[in-house]
């Protein structure tokens, strides 16, 4: 199909371009369902909220519940732990600085996704590390009493899920907003 240089755009060029475009679009459209089927299914999405009764949790205790098949830590912090978290707000070793006030709705109750932000292990609630929070045994990350990364390879703080208090002693994880979103709205 050699074209002499003098030839301009002709019908055949149009056919090539159109057929290539339609083929590429068709391939993309056909590939998408095959790619998207890998994403979480409706059944997995349906498990996206968990209700927790807080009344049995004692001060100083950490309880692990599951939300979306992942561990969530609920910690009823003591006065000392809350004070430590506030001290941490201005610490120089924060990798992912965030004040404690943006990580809780009520200082007494700390709710965190219990997954180390390094490679996804569950940090230990028994061995609390150098900052009295959590210690991840896999690769040695230390979190403080606000769940912030202070030492070790993890790049981010333990995530705070969106949740809401439906009564004084009951929360629903996966509903409502995160504390950070709420505090932004208040300041805005």
């Amino acid at each position: 199909m050699a074209h002499s240089p003098s030839e301009t755009v002709n019908r055949r060029d149009f056919i090539y371009i159109m057929s290539a475009t339609v083929s590429a679009a068709g391939a993309a459209v056909a590939a998408w369902p095959l790619i998207d089927q890998m994403n979480p299914s409706a059944a997995a999405q349906a498990l996206s909220s968990t209700e927790v009764d807080l009344s049995a949790i004692q001060p100083g205790q950490i309880v692990t519940v599951t939300w979306r098949k992942q561990p969530v830590f609920i910690r009823r912090r003591t006065e000392k732990e809350i004070a430590e978290a506030h001290e941490g707000d201005t610490a120089s070793d924060l990798k992912d600085p965030q004040p404690d006030a943006q990580r809780v709705f009520k200082p007494e109750w700390l709710v965190l996704v219990g997954i180390c932000t390094h490679l996804g292990c569950v940090p230990s609630s028994q061995v609390r590390g150098d900052y009295d929070g959590w210690f991840c045994p896999c690769h040695g990350s230390h979190y403080d009493t606000s769940g912030r990364i202070r030492k070790g390879p993890a790049p981010k703080n333990l995530a705070v899920p969106n949740y809401e208090f439906v009564s004084d002693t009951k929360i629903v994880i996966g509903e409502g907003k995160t504390p950070a979103e709420t505090s932004k709205e208040h300041t805005a």
Binding site: A44, K69, G140, P153
Partner: protein, 421 residues
């Protein structure tokens, strides 16, 4: 396939009829039976055949295990116990498959170090080497996927940690890593969706490996084998037919290898595994010390050698990625390290660095182990990106033999006499 002319002549009516329709016997004759092979290949060159044997073992035992295994987060662990206790010879087939993975990697590491030592990646064998690296990468993927299937604690947490590598890309574009992570897992955590897709892919990939092995052998048969002298075959006096010379040599080496394999299967079937994998997966409790299978330990050490997550992940993938460029990183004209006194010493150090990384990968990442991992990681990369190109520029190689035939005869002390053929 060999590119040369065919040495096959059909002798009877049937083979003549077949040869003009599907020249199967001709292809076998030219590529196996009468394939001209350098006459000086040593035992390090038997690992290609040993690897073919390993792939066959994994395919046969794997297909059998798939007839009994249940890919489900609820039932996988119990189905492994069912295979071990109730299925006739299930224990044997599973132990062969489990240890077969280790034997496969043992053989591939010997095969790769041999290729590096004798310069088998240099022109005209670059594609051959790259296909080998692709096979190695596919083997790693297959082994990882297979290790998750028993749904023990190490399976689960190995899958969690390794899929989490991709979350490092959140450091590049926020949300990208987490999106990829959910896509890979099909859920917010490793669970039923993951075990099902991992099983499907674990079943698929060995056949992809078999396909790439075909290309690998094809690419081998165009230039023919490299050999311990690294010099080219100059004529028929340098070669012997593959059969019976190398079928026997490969067969003998494979038999010795099978004995080692049998020692593991029958006397230490769990020696290379981890006891935590006989505890069912628990998404709420991470084992105190997560280690991968031994054949991934050097890469695990590289991952943990640097404190930054994204850098660690990139270095780990880079350690495999750099292998693709090896044919263009070595600027020496001489192939075989036997004739390269300086490179040879750096090569020995490289083997030591890989072993040291393997040791460090099994230890908690602190103190001396962390230091050794860092030094090992440094040397691993420096070897490829600096030593390999630069040494060839100033090193004086030893004098190469005139031909393979002369080298063989000199070695055996009859330089003048041709042995009777």
């Amino acid at each position: 396939m060999s590119g040369g002319h065919s040495t096959y002549t059909p002798t009877n009516g049937f083979t003549k009829w077949l040869d003009s329709r599907l020249p199967l016997i001709r292809v076998m004759n030219d590529n196996v039976t009468n394939f001209p092979t350098p006459k000086n290949l040593n035992y390090w060159y038997t690992f290609g055949a040993i690897l073919t044997f390993c792939l066959a073992v994994q395919l046969v035992t794997g297909i059998v295990l798939a007839m009994h295994y249940v890919a489900s987060a609820d039932k996988a662990f119990a189905s492994i116990e069912y295979i071990m206790r109730d299925v006739n010879y299930g224990w044997l087939i599973r132990y062969v498959h489990m240890n077969g993975a280790s034997m496969f990697f043992l053989a591939v590491y010997v095969h790769m170090f041999r290729g590096l030592y004798y310069g088998s990646y240099k022109a005209p064998r670059e594609i051959l080497w790259i296909l080998g690296v692709i096979i190695y990468f596919l083997m790693m993927a297959t082994a990882f996927l297979g290790y998750t299937l028993p749904w023990g604690q190490m399976s689960f947490w190995g899958a969690t940690v390794i899929t989490n590598f991709f979350s490092a890309f959140d450091q590049v574009i926020p949300g990208l890593g987490s999106g990829v992570l959910e896509w890979l897992r099909g859920d917010f955590a490793v669970d039923d969706a993951a075990v099902k897709r991992f099983f499907a892919l674990h079943y698929l990939l060995p056949f992809v490996i078999a396909g790439v092995v075909f290309l690998h052998i094809w690419a081998l048969h165009v230039p023919g084998n490299n050999n311990p002298t690294g010099i080219d075959v100059k004529g028929p006096q340098d070669t012997v037919p593959f059969h019976p010379y190398y079928t026997v040599k490969d067969g003998f080496a494979t038999a010795i290898f099978m004995m080692l394999f049998a020692v593991f299967v029958f006397y230490a079937p769990n020696y290379l595994g981890h006891p935590d994998n006989y505890v069912e997966a628990n998404p709420l409790v991470t084992p105190a010390h997560i280690v991968p299978e031994w054949y991934f330990l050097p890469f695990y050490a590289i991952l943990r050698a640097v404190p930054d997550k994204l850098t660690g992940v990139l270095l780990m993938f880079g350690a495999i990625g750099v292998l693709f460029f090896v044919p263009w990183l070595d600027w020496s004209k001489v192939r075989s390290a036997s004739y390269r006194p300086v490179f040879r010493q750096f090569f020995v150090l490289f083997v030591i660095a890989c072993l040291a990384l393997g040791w460090a990968g099994a230890q908690p990442a602190e103190g001396a182990a962390l230091l050794i991992a860092q030094v090992g990681t440094f040397y691993y990369f420096i070897f490829f990106i600096f030593i390999m190109p630069v040494v060839g520029l100033w090193e004086t190689p030893r004098k190469l033999p005139e031909s393979i035939a002369k080298a063989v005869l000199a070695k055996n002390g009859h330089a003048a006499v041709q042995p009777a053929q």
